[in-house]
């Protein structure tokens, strides 16, 4: 059933190839301008790209997880989260259980990473984990798992490498041109063939300015498309689009920005981690507007791709967002299920918060002391003393 995703991927791959071509054209003209040698420019562009790609492929997930200060957890650390990931892994038909990470950050967000299905991780901020009930958590995890399942993670990291290479090349080229002239070899021969040289220079300047902008727009277009598909798959896996919708609502109403996010990692998150708003926000955003995503999810009449596509079309009055092949292959209606959380004697928000902070204190090696008066003390790992006075009842507790 999953082969259909490939059609959507093919369209994305055309865009990626477009970005690749942009890189080569840029390298070609920069080579002509600075080295008098188009091949030289191409080779430099290629070398930078290959090095960055290899790093991203083999190290990308660990770099991303370490700059986000993510901590890996096991089933015992946070059973609720682990169970939800396991459920969604089964629902999506993923072969291998992804690694689960918690990021100690009060902001609300989540992301998936990893180069392929066998090396995948999902990460969620502690803030989000505290705020979501089981249905919402399921929606978020399903969205992230479908990024893994649809191979978005690899696609997007390859895209960001291309984008990065283009940006770096243009940036250095423009600085060299501003401050260093265009190299000796050109000036030596400048008595002859000035016209052709001028044209090359003009093209190179135009490319330096516009290539990064175009690359970014392509990148954002690819990224937004993947988000819709991940939302649709998320609804399909959970059969409860309201879970993801209400999670997105909570995320978008939060004012706290993810501390470790930057432009390169933004598309990895479930919702745009930047809170600033501007005129060009829609065009240059890695994510579709959240309000719209919520509206689509809420107007779904079933849980299948067809239902998502119908809901999307009702709102946009335009073409489909889900690839044709996926629509025809998803045979039969998939009914929505009702909310789980209310039935199960759901944890209240305080309990959810303590469940999550419990993990974080443990991961940060704080010691726990329970005083008889009902106070629980967390002692930082740097504390040297052997006993601690309870600030509530004044009794002395021994540190184990």
């Amino acid at each position: 059933m999953w082969e259909q995703i490939r059609s959507n991927r093919n369209k994305s791959i055309i865009l990626v190839i477009g970005m690749g071509l942009l890189l080569f054209v840029l390298g070609y003209f920069l080579g002509l301008l600075f080295l008098d040698n188009a091949t030289g420019g191409l080779i430099i562009a290629l070398i930078i790209w290959v090095i960055m790609s290899l790093t991203a492929y083999f190290q990308g997930d660990s770099i991303l997880l370490s700059i986000s200060k993510a901590r890996k957890i096991s089933r015992e650390d946070h059973p609720r989260l682990y169970n939800v990931v396991e459920e969604m892994k089964i629902a999506s038909g993923l072969e291998k259980m992804p690694d689960i990470y918690i990021i100690d950050d009060p902001a609300l967000n989540a992301f998936a990473t990893g180069r392929d299905i066998k090396h995948a991780s999902v990460a969620i901020t502690s803030g989000l984990l505290q705020k979501l009930n089981r249905d919402e958590l399921q929606g978020v995890i399903a969205h992230e798992i479908s990024h893994i399942k649809n191979r978005d993670v690899l696609l997007m990291s390859m895209c960001s490498v291309l984008l990065g290479t283009i940006v770096i090349l243009s940036w250095y080229a423009s600085r060299i041109m501003l401050f260093g002239g265009t190299g000796r070899s050109r000036r030596d021969r400048s008595s002859g063939g000035g016209g052709a040289q001028l044209i090359i220079m003009l093209i190179a300047i135009v490319l330096m300015i516009f290539a990064p902008i175009f690359a970014k727009l392509i990148y954002f277009a690819i990224s937004r498309k993947r988000e819709y598909l991940a939302d649709a798959s998320g609804a399909l896996y959970t059969r409860y689009p309201e879970g993801l919708a209400s999670a997105l609502e909570k995320i978008s109403s939060s004012e706290i920005q993810v501390q470790a996010a930057n432009n390169a990692t933004a598309p990895m998150y479930i919702d745009n981690p930047f809170r600033k708003k501007g005129a060009a926000q829609n065009l240059s955003s890695t994510h579709p507007p959240t309000a719209e995503r919520i509206r689509i999810l809420r107007s779904m009449s079933g849980a299948s791709y067809v239902d998502y596509n119908q809901a999307y079309k009702n709102i946009h009055n335009t073409h489909s967002i889900i690839p044709e092949t996926a629509l025809t292959a998803s045979s039969g209606a998939i009914p929505l299920r009702s909310a789980q959380s209310e039935k199960e004697g759901e944890l209240d928000e305080k309990k959810q918060a303590r469940e999550t902070s419990d993990v974080l204190w443990r991961l940060n090696e704080y010691k726990t002391v329970d005083c008889g008066c009902g106070v629980r003390l967390r002692v930082p790992p740097g504390y040297r003393g052997t006993e601690i006075k309870c600030p509530r009842c004044g009794s002395i507790n021994q540190l184990k």
Binding site: K350, A353, Y366, V375, R376, P380, P391, G394
Partner: protein, 140 residues
């Protein structure tokens, strides 16, 4: 978390499922925005971080007391008065939370319980919670 006053690692007190960051050396307390929200939620149906917004919109108190830096965002905090005559607390301008110096906690605990006129206000709930947690310090 690092104590904004004495720069040592802070302890954490959990009471009634609410966490407070507590400095074992100077007795200062950090009440985090998220924890404030959790504590006040059942009492007030209104928007969650209303209390912080309200506190931040009040005027900067005139004081010679030294400005403290927020332990989370490291920006200088605002000195504000929360209903009691001589108790000045520090509030993070970015809404990360509230800081109570050790001495302020002591004053709060030693207040007569009925001194505040505003019953059941958010401020009163915060003060009640703090006095409940630190009531042993009355004897200090």
């Amino acid at each position: 978390m690092i104590c904004p006053v004495c720069k040592s690692d802070m302890f954490v007190i959990e009471y009634n499922e609410i966490e407070l960051d507590y400095c074992n050396q100077c007795g200062g307390v950090w009440f985090d925005q998220g924890e404030l929200e959790l504590m006040l939620k059942p009492a007030s149906s209104e928007n969650n971080n209303l209390l912080l917004k309200k506190i931040l919109s009040s005027r900067d108190a005139v004081t010679l007391e030294q400005k403290r830096r927020c332990p989370l965002c490291n920006k200088k905090m605002k000195k504000v008065n929360i209903g009691y005559p001589d108790i000045l607390i520090d509030a993070c301008e970015h809404g990360e939370g509230l800081w109570f110096d050790g001495g302020e906690i002591l004053k709060l605990v030693q207040q007569l319980p009925t001194q505040s006129t505003k019953e059941n206000s958010n401020e009163q709930n915060v003060v009640d919670f703090l006095t409940e947690v630190f009531h042993a310090r009355k004897q200090d």
